[in-house]
């Protein structure tokens, strides 16, 4: 009897322990799952909101706006197959139709979006640039005409929300100038050399830059060289060249993380240019067949728009130096459009 009673008490305790553990485990697993789901939900909702914000920002031409940034920060990347995406935490979203030029990562309290239209010479699309208060752009200039022209263009268009300083090569090189520029706690710094050879071999940056993510670009009137530090403390840089057209193209080379992001977006922009010029060319054909406009002597020339379209289609698959010819076509089309305007004919754009 006594043995059976002892067994019963022991069994009760074992039962309570097992049942308690099962119940605790059940609730614990639900809590863990709910936590993961909540984090995922938050990231998805932030990505959705960012998608909506960038859509709004991308259609607001010329506008710069400062917006709150999620604590997790935002990462931007383009793969070698030109699949570009932004991500918050583990949730990623494709750029889709947006042409977004941004550094690899933006973190801090806010993010600045700026939109500029890409005109060849008509608006083909809008470029969206992203930066924030923790990122600094040093524009290095000299007295040459090209450098000063590029400086004037950048100064005229860059919004005040972007941290930009215009300096000379002597200000960067601590070998020759003890008062050289130093990092004022910026997380990322971009050195943009406006038509000046960066000469990284002989350039000594201030030691305050040693732990900073530094990238650099050489911008000439025709092309841009993207430089990437080989590693964090290295003074050596890898270079990649790309060609640009238009003011928006110039700023794309300033704000893009690397040549990959720049090239992918410019190819997509060229694709869009191809379709816009096709619609404009088809519209022009209607004008060319209109009896009243023929009688009025409106000079519609399909050649230039066709040339823009052909070039845009070819550049959409491989961006190269040929893209520079777009400038000549744009200039010709501009003259043709003004001629139409003078004769009170419907303009092309």
């Amino acid at each position: 009897m006594a043995v059976r009673g002892q067994l019963e008490i022991q069994f009760n305790w074992i039962f309570i322990l097992v049942a308690g553990a099962v119940i605790l485990g059940f609730f614990f697993s639900i809590i863990v799952k709910q936590q993961n789901v909540s984090e995922q939900k938050l990231a998805i909702s932030l990505v959705n909101e960012l998608d909506a914000i960038t859509t709004g920002a991308s259609v607001a031409k010329g506008a710069a706006q400062r917006l709150d940034l999620p604590k997790a920060g935002i990462d931007f990347a383009c793969s070698s197959e030109c699949t570009c995406s932004f991500s918050i935490g583990k949730v990623s979203r494709d750029f889709k139709d947006k042409l977004l030029f941004a550094p690899k990562r933006i973190e801090g309290d806010d993010i600045v979006f700026w939109t500029l239209d890409w005109k060849i010479p008509f608006r083909a699309t809008n470029f969206l640039f992203a930066t924030n208060e923790r990122i600094k752009y040093f524009f290095v200039t000299d007295d040459s005409q090209e450098s000063q022209q590029l400086k004037a263009k950048v100064q005229a268009l860059i919004p005040e929300q972007v941290n930009a300083d215009f300096i000379t090569l002597a200000d960067v090189d601590c070998n020759t100038n003890p008062e050289c520029v130093r990092n004022e706690n910026y997380v990322q710094v971009k050195l943009v050399f406006l038509n000046i050879d960066p000469n990284f071999g002989g350039l000594q940056l201030h030691e305050s830059f040693s732990d900073t993510t530094i990238s650099a670009a050489l911008i000439t009137p025709d092309y841009v060289n993207f430089y990437k530090r080989k590693n964090l403390r290295s003074q050596e840089f890898d270079a990649a060249r790309a060609y640009y057209v238009g003011d928006a193209g110039l700023f794309a080379s300033i704000f893009a993380e690397d040549e990959q992001m720049f090239r992918c977006n410019l190819q997509e922009a060229s694709r869009k240019l191809g379709y816009v010029s096709k619609v404009l060319a088809d519209r022009m054909e209607v004008f060319r067949g209109d009896a009243e406009l023929i009688a009025q002597g409106c000079p519609y020339n399909p050649g230039t728009l066709d040339a823009i379209r052909t070039l845009a289609v070819s550049q959409a698959s491989a961006l190269n130096a040929d893209v520079l010819v777009l400038r000549d076509h744009a200039s010709t089309l501009n003259i043709e459009n003004e001629a139409l305007l003078r004769q009170s004919c419907p303009t092309l754009y």
């Binding site: 059976r4 909506a52 083909a124 379709y275 404009l280 088809d282 519209r283 009243e292 754009y349």
Partner: protein
């Protein structure tokens, strides 16, 4: 004769089991109530996402250079060039690559321009449908005829498929 101690043990065991059954009954009832609430909240979220997408699609289309009214690069708000709209619709219908390209912009949606004045007309700009919920949005528009230099009235109907 049955052992009274064994009977008492069985009763205790049944009591414990009954408590567990009641406990899990409440747990399942609570969980099903919670998941129902979650489902409703998800449906509301999906509805909101559908509306947001319809707004985004209409916002994008109103600023598309392929459709807008521009005068030496100055755009007029809420205005479509009727010739551009016709040519754009024809392009997207005829060229599969164009349809794929504009899918990035409009995704699963149908965009139709309805002319109301002076002449009623219909231009389908883009049409890519799928089964599921539909959010419809209508936006009043100016319709510019570049040949005549005249404006008409109409509206853009955006159907966004969820």
């Amino acid at each position: 004769m049955p052992d009274p101690l064994l009977n008492r043990g069985q009763v205790k065991m049944f009591e414990t089991l009954a408590v567990l059954v009641v406990f899990f009954f409440f747990l399942i009832f609570g969980a099903s109530f919670y998941f129902k609430l979650q489902e409703n909240s998800l449906m509301r979220e999906l509805d909101k996402t559908g509306q947001l997408r319809a707004i985004q699609v209409s916002q994008k289309s109103l600023h598309l250079p392929e459709l807008d009214c521009s005068f030496v690069n100055v755009q007029r708000d809420n205005c479509f060039d009727i010739l551009k709209a016709q040519k754009f619709g024809a392009l997207v219908t005829a060229d599969e690559n164009a349809l794929i390209e504009y899918f990035k912009t409009f995704e699963y949606s149908t965009l139709t321009v309805y002319g109301v004045y002076p002449v009623p007309s219909t231009i389908v700009l883009y049409d890519r449908q799928r089964d599921g919920s539909v959010t419809v949005l209508q936006i009043p528009l100016l319709l510019y005829d570049a040949r005549q230099g005249d404006y008409g009235f109409g509206y853009l109907e955006v159907k966004a498929y969820g």
